[in-house]
Amino acid sequence: MSSSSSSGALFALALAAVCLAGCGHVETREMVLRPNELTEPKGRAEIYVGAQKPPRPVYEVALLQAFATGDSATLENLTGALAARAGQLGCDAVVRVRVDTGRGQSHAYGVCARYGRSEAPASAPPEVAAPPPEAPEPAEAAPEPPPEPVPRSL
């Protein structure tokens, strides 16, 4: 078999694999709120949609998002992606899950949470910390130092 025919066969095989797998992909994004509380990956986390409450108290560890396009933009794929990613982050549940679907793409959001109670609230990561305000308040502004004497030229 010549190299051109073998490469053609490989291309056809890859094309068939793509067609069988369908078009589209699923992608997850997250913002970890408690990096110190990330633990070993667990199995898939439980999913709680909307106002559904988990059986025990939970606290937030991260914000999760999932995007899907094409044939992958299904409810099952999106919630599955959230549950899998939450499990990787060591979360027990994804709560407040909301899924919005368009024509060719979908979006899901949820809060990656762990069972228990946390002593302190989550903080914005350092790169998210609030920047200084644009104009400082006049009351808190330090008084201006006296002007330094300017040397006179003779």
């Binding site: 709120l33 937030e60 914000l63 793409q105 959001y109 914005a124 910390a129």
Partner: protein, 164 residues
Amino acid sequence: MKASPWLILGACLLTAGCSSVRANAVHTGGERLPARTGPVALYALDAPAGAKELGYVEVSAVGEEGNVETLLPAFVEKVAKLGGNAAHIEGTQARFELVPRSNYDTMWYPCGFRMCAGTRMWTTMDEAMVVRMYGRALFVEGLGTKVPLGKPISMAPVAGGSAR
């Protein structure tokens, strides 16, 4: 085929730092606090007990920018501008809009002894995803004195044990 003028314009806008992130915040209630610096506590489930509500915050972005990494900093910035030391994220949702997009194509073809140029224009409808994060700016008494979890955050000077 040559590059369409819309493509060039889009590239210019992108290189100029054009962003789709929109952030809005309004004061609600009678409480008014000055803008603050320093850490902002995040509550993504329930608001803390005893928190004073300062305002409503909403940030949104289109397409690739519609992710939590982009939206959360803008949300926190608005909370801090309202004087809040805590942000309650009530939800994040997406809506999908069909946006018309004009496409141009220039082709060259032989006409007589020279080449002629022809341009055609057609419109396609693209689906754009707009992701919106919304919630409240809160002030929680004594929150600034607690050591936050996670990486150390540069704390703003705290006067008299208050986070203001």
